[in-house]
Subunit: 353 residues, 2 copies
């Protein structure tokens, strides 16, 4: 019996999956740069229910310009998992119903139990030619209240969400193509319009509205994926898509598993590219934009920070080690430069495959 | 006839005031550091009505560690004024009524004309022992629509708002006392409870909720100050407070004028203090917290960025040149250190005078 048809509850299968994926991703990065310090593994308990493990890489050099000859490949990175549960009050249920159509009505004053398991990772390499990469996969469940711990509670609503996206400071079209092709291949095994729908969603989601530019060159973004109709997918039953819990989980695992093969070859190709202070300066400005998106628009970050008992350090591990803001910087505005070439695709997202 | 009893419309008096204050503050900083490049003066026009002038200091050194022996006193600074007008749609009126009790009902589908004039400044010195300082003073008016440009429109609602606050990386109690005393002296000429009420409001406003620490060591914060009752001021008519437009304007000018004497002596005392990479690192972490506050909580920034036609570069000039995020940094957590001494007062705001 393979895991994709397991009789175990989905919450347990997802928990095992994100545990294994975290370990696989972290050890992959550690093998890539054996001279760098290992990721710092940090387990935590949520007093309101659940736990998590943050694996964070940092290698402060005391040399902020980052131009030393011997450097770690990564500058800052976090690969976090969390498996939490508790009770969603009616107000939270009401708010979540906007994005999750299968969510029950908030008609029980005592709220409803929830369960959430997910992995979230952000990799900021040191070299300005190597792109930042983010990925996140999560499973969410709302159940009937149960008094008896031995019984599996009845699931009232469930969905998966996630995605992966690339944020370069300098555009290498071959990298963009490799990243998107890798994700598309993973998607195409599970449905014919998954890649095109969720690629578009990604471009829409990662928009820095006040700059009218996207955070990066996109990838995949999806939410609220379950057996029901989906706002971004055709309701035509002749078009293949994952429907059952097993099928949706198999799709999520496929894209989750594709992370290393989509990103590591890019990192391997770029981390030794020579760079100057000019490249570093632009990278830090781009990291400033990353901070702007995450703190102003990112739903996960906002939601996380507003949640009582949230672990701020884990949520904000997505922020780069350093970021830079220049008033009316000329970088990125001068036509024909490598910086302007990137800004161009951020202002007009392209098809890469 | 002094300006405080001028017959000119208040909008014109405030516009002249912020113009003069901007020039005074910018030239004061330029005289303080004659070897540094001048502020870059940048006038702009708002297509929907009005204009502004940004005066911004930047002196990129290409040396991010900032430990060179010859350095400009400031690292990044902006002193901006804007004088804008237009029409507030009913939805915006409705939203503003929450904070401004004198605001008319949003019962005209065509909205109502508004006028706003203000000065906003943020000074980030280079030396980690010299605190960042922010100040902002603004006048807002809602009027009857007029078709005839020669007539002064009837004012339906008006208020002043503003304040000033100090954000050190290292706590010098004498600096905190000087800054607060200077502001208190300015307040006390105009009312007996202005300083205590608005100092408290400042501590409440500049709270980084997800860190449970304030952005800095406070100062003054007020809004919605006009002739009507005020939520933060006693309604006892025996307690002196500014009431008429002339009186409120005189108070705002007094605190606005006190900016240079409240801050410049601190900057003069600290900008030559020797510092190490350790001090710089902590300063950059504190600047990261400044970014968190401004992007997540600051009403002016949020409101500004969401406004169509807003000038993003002027709004985000408040951000530091560089900021830093470390996962679970030990800085600030070790009892007895200078860093922990600062964190202590950010977690428990103190009385300084």
């Amino acid at each position: 019996m393979t895991d994709s048809t397991s009789t175990k509850p989905m919450r347990q299968r997802m928990e095992e999956y994100v545990n294994n994926l975290q370990e696989h991703i972290v050890t992959t990065f550690e093998k890539l740069d054996p001279d760098a310090p290992p990721f710092k593994r940090d387990s935590w308990i949520r007093t309101q229910g659940g736990s998590g493990r943050s694996c964070v890489f940092a290698c402060p050099t005391g040399d902020e310009a980052g131009t030393k000859s011997h450097q770690s490949i990564l500058e800052k990175a976090g690969v976090n998992i969390s498996v939490v549960h508790g009770v969603l009050p009616p107000a939270a249920i009401r708010q979540m119903r906007a994005d999750h159509t299968s969510m029950p009505l908030p008609d029980r004053p005592e709220g409803l139990p929830f369960f959430a398991a997910g992995i979230s990772l952000v990799i900021h390499p040191r070299n300005p030619h190597a792109p930042t990469c983010h990925a996140n996969y999560r499973y969410f469940e709302i159940t009937e209240p149960v008094n008896d711990n031995t019984t599996s509670p009845k699931i009232l609503a469930w969905w998966f969400g996630g995605g992966a996206d690339l944020t370069p400071s300098y555009l290498y079209e071959s990298d963009a193509k490799h990243f998107h092709t890798s994700i598309k291949n993973a998607c195409d095994k599970h449905g014919t319009e998954l890649y095109s729908s969720f690629k578009k969603w990604c471009d829409e989601y990662f928009l820095i509205q006040h700059r009218n530019e996207t955070r990066g060159i996109g990838g995949l973004f999806f939410d609220d994926l379950n057996s029901g109709p989906h706002q971004r997918l055709s309701s035509d039953s002749g078009i293949k898509r994952p429907v059952t819990p097993d099928e949706v989980f198999a799709f999520v695992k496929e894209v989750g598993d594709s992370f290393t093969s989509s990103y590591i070859p890019i990192l391997e190709a770029r981390h030794t590219t020579p760079y100057t202070e000019h490249h570093r300066r632009w990278q830090l400005i781009r990291r400033g934009r990353y901070v702007e998106f995450n703190l102003i628009y990112d739903r996960g970050t906002k939601f996380g920070l507003m949640t009582p008992g949230a672990r701020t350090e884990s949520i904000l591990m997505s922020l780069p080690e350093t970021a830079r803001w220049e008033y009316m910087s000329e970088l990125g505005t001068e036509e024909g430069t490598e910086e302007a070439k990137l800004v161009q695709v951020l202002k007009e997202p392209r098809s890469w495959v």
